[in-house]
């Protein structure tokens, strides 16, 4: 899970979830609590789904 996904790709990461921002990759302090929670839950969910998905090459989830 990274914000600068090009760097992740350049070091060989295969399953990538793009995140929100560098100081708060898995979060967003500009949102209200409920919205931030939903966003975060969804992102981590996507990361888990990525781990359970067969891939051939670098893939963003």
């Amino acid at each position: 899970m990274a914000t600068i996904t090009t760097i992740s790709e350049s070091v060989g990461a295969n399953r990538i979830v793009p995140t929100v921002a560098i100081p708060y990759p898995v979060g967003n302090p500009n949102l209200n609590t409920a919205d931030e929670y939903n966003l975060r839950k969804d992102m981590v969910g996507r990361a888990l789904k990525g781990l359970a998905t067969e891939i051939e090459e670098t893939t963003q989830f």
């Binding site: 914000t3 060989g12 560098i22 708060y24 898995v26 979060g27 975060r40 888990l48």
Partner: protein, 346 residues
């Protein structure tokens, strides 16, 4: 005639094998083991005035005491140079040779030389500071190693210019030195371009770092039975930073038991020097989402969150260290039977 002091371990010092690896350092005013063969290589110009012998285990477990003894002998004997090894692929012997040569060079300013197989862990401990002659991986390579070491030792003693690693037979030190080339830069550039245009071999003067491609791991078949670990390069650590992980250019990583907590908030904060810490300090789970992994665990989506959380800082950290951290952490997780990892970076 230059005077050389030689360092070997218990085995090459002809005291004994693994059972003698615990012996304390001792000094003999004669050439023993490889010191004899080395002496032949420098005959007429330098002589070995004595041999220091120390057990590999003793050196690595009592480093300070061992070095104190060794340094005292060197101060008394006043050699012009200290040579250690070659250690071939013997790891503890390599670490000892590295320890002795670096200490002698840094504290006494004497020229030093050792020899090792390139994969010996001792290489990384000293190659940027001292010359390490490249050897084969076992003592069978002794007869090839000693002439190279002898030749390089004489050059170092005389203060002669040391050529490129491949020419002199030492392992590259990773230092880029400025030298005067035979052709001016533009001529070298034109030659390089012409070589490229005619598909001939060429060598760049400034190699770019190479990044690895990795074959994707197979998918996790059943998430609900999987153990998932959380790892971050976002510098999230327990309050007080107990392991003193660096805020930039990290030299180490840490692991912390998170089996008893539901979120990082409260107990953790960021020491990362590469971003504005305000948002992460408010809620460290914004960087490493332990809270949500725990939720998914409770919901049964995943089997288990691994009991340890791994962390380091990514900013300014050398590629070499990053590879080392990744390998070490990966090994632990694999041995612990972890099925998948969420790695977050800032």
């Amino acid at each position: 005639m230059y005077k050389i002091l030689y360092y070997v371990n218990q085995f090459f010092g002809q005291i004994g094998g693994e059972d003698k690896a615990g012996i304390e350092p001792e000094f003999h005013q004669k050439s023993i083991g490889p010191a004899m063969g080395f002496g032949v290589q420098v005959k007429g110009q330098a002589e070995v005035i004595g041999t220091l012998i120390c057990g590999d285990n003793y050196f690595n477990e009592n480093r300070e005491a061992a070095l104190e003894y060794i340094m005292n002998v060197i101060k008394e004997q006043k050699p012009d140079m200290v040579v250690a090894g070659p250690a071939f692929n013997a790891g503890r012997y390599g670490m000892a040779c590295a320890g002795v040569t670096v200490a002698v060079q840094e504290q006494l300013g004497l020229p030093v030389l050792t020899g090792m197989y390139e994969e010996n862990p001792g290489v990384d401990a000293c190659k940027t500071k001292v010359y390490v002659v490249k050897t084969g991986n076992s003592a069978a390579a002794m007869k090839d190693a000693l002439p190279v070491m002898g030749k390089l030792a004489l050059k170092l003693l005389k203060g002669e210019e040391i050529g490129k690693p491949a020419e002199e037979g030492y392992l590259p030190q990773g230092r880029r030195l400025t030298v005067i080339a035979d052709e001016r830069g533009s001529k070298r550039a034109v030659d390089m371009l012409v070589a490229r245009l005619y598909d001939k071999p060429f060598e760049t003067e400034l190699p770019m770092p190479v990044f690895d491609r990795v074959t994707p791991a197979a998918a996790i078949k059943d998430l609900s039975k999987a153990t998932i670990a959380l790892v971050t390069t976002g510098g999230i650590v327990p309050h007080g930073n107990p392991d003193r992980i660096q805020s930039a250019s990290a030299q180490k990583w840490g692991k912390y038991d998170v089996s008893k907590i539901d979120e990082l908030k409260g107990d953790y904060y960021t020491i990362h020097g590469g971003y504005d810490p305000v948002y992460a300090n408010e809620k460290p789970d914004r960087v490493a989402p332990l809270d949500l992994l725990k939720e998914y665990e409770k919901e049964g989506v995943i089997g288990k969150v691994f009991e340890y959380f791994y962390t380091t800082t990514g900013t300014g950290t050398a590629v070499g260290n990053s590879i080392k951290f990744g390998t070490e952490i990966g090994k632990e997780l694999k041995e612990a039977g972890v099925d998948g990892v969420i790695l977050t970076s800032t």
